[in-house]
Amino acid sequence: MNTMNSTVTSNNETTEAPAVPVQDERPAETIIQEGVTVGSPYADDPKFKLRDVEVFYGESRAIKKISLDIARNEVIAFIGPSGCGKSTFLRCLNRMNDSIDICSVKGELMLDDQNIYDPKRDVVELRARVGMVFQKPNPFPKSIYDNVAYGPRIHGLANRKSDLDDIVEDSLRKAGLWNEVKDRLDATATGMSGGQQQRLCIARAIAVSPEVILMDEPCSALDPIATAKVEELIAEMSESYTIVIVTHSMQQAARVSNRTAYFHLGHLVEVNETDKVFTSPDHELTESYITGRFG
């Protein structure tokens, strides 16, 4: 009931007063101080220790001096208006930005005290530890089995066929997909429904047993029922993985995450316990955003 209300109000706000964001822009800039994040951005013994991270696309600075710790086995949600840099920041965590030529990253990004952006660092190894699920379900146009088995195969995680079968079954079970697909593992993955495809992508990501799973708006292309299933899955997975999720849906952030980070125009404005962010945020901008004044 509550969630229903908040969506309605946010809709009303945006349709009624298109001028509001423009008015809010001014004070927003003045309130933010570069490199300063209110709330509790730091943690003890973090999985990721990120300090003064800056990302440039050519000349323009997309991420402005962000410092943040991501704790072990927590689910942290990145929220913020479009273009605020949350996806860009997420993609720094497993160097997915490497393939963009003009993109450069500065600052200290540590995964378990090892520098992610060390030139000597092997990206392949990093990505085996930090898996990723994308906005649009992107299964390979191969069989369901081959999709899940691909990661273990290229990393040489299974020496025998039976080991590989076990990994595939285990991953599909964890992704809650096993019962739906166990009879048609050889069917092509692109024939599944959108929600099934996305859960297959999650199964594919966990098949290489990563430590961290990055999710870039994993439910934005799914219907509410499929979304509910994926969220359930995230809750279950949080026991064994560190999960970083970018989302446009504040309800989703509220439902699945332990902590929430609010991004604004490339700044990290506030990080707090999720309950606190959605009930009594510390920063004015966060409050404006979650109450739907802009976004």
């Binding site: 997915m96 898996g131 994308f134 992107n138 299964p139 290229i154 692109t190 290489v208």
Partner: protein, 425 residues
């Protein structure tokens, strides 16, 4: 209120104008297509009308008495005697049986000209194979002379009879009536190489030559083109130098094909000393010509692989090479193959560069390897089309039909492959 009405009026009028414009535009398009279709129909009727007779052969069945005395031959297994013997005599005698009234030397010569020039060779070959047949009577089927063949095939058209004397025409008419001269499917055309005699000439030599040449072209151009495209698209850094290469590849695709022939002449024959007019040489030259087409279409195919698939593979930790080999290349393969087949079809129809490297030679033998002299389909057609004999002209048209059917097959294959292997996501 009046304002609104007049505005509606203006809109209505402009609508009328817009629709008129649209109709006119559609009409232009339809006219263009109609003209194109009409030319195509005219072209095909012309080629088929001229060429279908190329698929018909005219034969003459005679009872030949293999009389040793007449041929100056008493032992058919003796090679010296065989090379001296007169194998024409039994044919004349056999023909004379149908026309006993012909006795004068001059008339006999005219009569003997009804049989093809290779008829005597046929008797020689038979005796060489089976010497014991000397002295027996055999029923044999001979190809008639080209002029007779043309006359029989175009019996209703007096324009084709000018090369036969009236006497000969009478004889042929009589032989046709008796069933001695008959027409049938031209198996000779599909089983022999070129010949000086149209009725004895076949296209098999050119087909085999074309196939051998295409194999060389495919083996060289496809892997090289795909590798170049993958490297340029996936691995090469973006800088002035790669831009320069890209521009030049695009330019190469537009270079007139005869330039590639000159290149082949200068480099492959001049520098590397490859033999002339062999399929390897033709294949190399055509490979150079086809490469830009394959590279360009392969790059387009690679570009069309959705980035989400790359990201998916990278996200699991696939290395660059694995992303390319496991995902990008297999997904781009249908497009690459389509481009290559179209490039190959283009190469199959290419004549100019091959003229320069000597593949225009008159070659009777069917090539038996990549290093034996050969000619190819379009060059064979060129050779026949530039001959004076009516028999060769129809062979040229028949050859065009063969070449076109090869092209249509290849293009159909390309379409089938694309439909078959195309994946949707």
């Amino acid at each position: 209120m009046t304002d609104q009405r007049s505005q509606a009026e203006i809109v209505r009028q402009s609508l009328k104008r817009r629709y008129r414009k649209e109709r006119r535009f559609r009409l232009y398009g339809m006219t263009a297509i109609a003209i194109a279709l009409l030319s195509l129909v005219v072209l095909f009727t012309d080629i088929i009308g001229k060429g279908y007779t190329g698929f018909i052969k005219t034969t003459m069945t005679l009872e030949v008495v293999l009389d040793g005395e007449q041929m100056y031959l008493d032992d058919a297994s003796d090679k010296d005697q065989m090379s001296m013997a007169d194998f024409q005599a039994p044919i004349i005698t056999a023909l004379q049986k149908h026309f006993p009234e012909v006795e004068e030397r001059k008339d006999l010569r005219e009569l003997s000209r009804l049989a093809g020039s290779y008829a005597s060779n046929q008797i020689k070959d038979l005796l060489a194979r089976q010497p014991e047949l000397l002295g027996t009577t055999q029923t044999m089927e001979f190809l008639v002379h080209d002029t007779v063949s043309v006359y029989v095939k175009h019996a209703d058209n007096p324009a084709y009879s000018i090369r036969l004397s009236e006497q000969q025409q009478r004889w042929v008419d009589e032989l046709v009536q008796k069933g001695v001269v008959d027409t049938g499917f031209n198996d000779v055309f599909f089983s022999r190489g070129d010949s000086r005699e149209p009725s004895n000439a076949g296209i098999l030599g050119a087909i085999v030559g074309s196939l051998l040449t295409m194999v060389v072209t495919l083996v060289i151009a496809f892997p090289m083109g795909v590798a170049a495209a993958v490297y340029l698209e996936e691995f090469a850094p973006q800088n002035k130098f790669t831009d320069f290469i890209e521009v030049n590849i695009n330019n190469l695709a537009a270079v007139p094909s005869i330039i590639f022939g000159l290149l082949g002449l200068a480099v492959f024959i001049g520098v590397f000393g490859l033999p002339r007019s062999v399929p390897v040489l033709g294949g190399l030259v055509l490979a150079l010509m086809t490469l830009p087409t394959i590279i360009i279409s392969s790059r387009a195919a690679i570009k069309s692989v959705p980035p989400s698939i790359r990201e998916a593979a990278e996200g699991i930790g696939a290395s660059k090479m694995q992303v390319v080999l496991h995902h990008v290349v297999p997904l781009a393969m249908p497009g690459m193959m389509t481009g290559s087949i179209i490039g190959m079809a283009q190469a199959l129809g290419e004549t100019a560069p091959l003229l320069l490297i000597g593949m225009v030679a008159f070659i009777v033998e069917i090539p038996d390897g990549f290093f034996s002299s050969a000619t190819v389909l379009p060059v064979q057609i060129y050779l026949w089309a530039s001959s004076a004999e009516q028999g060769f002209v129809e062979l040229a048209s028949a050859g065009i039909m063969i070449l076109l059917s090869f092209m249509i097959t290849m293009n159909a294959l390309a379409i089938w492959l694309r439909k078959r292997l195309e994946r949707r996501w």
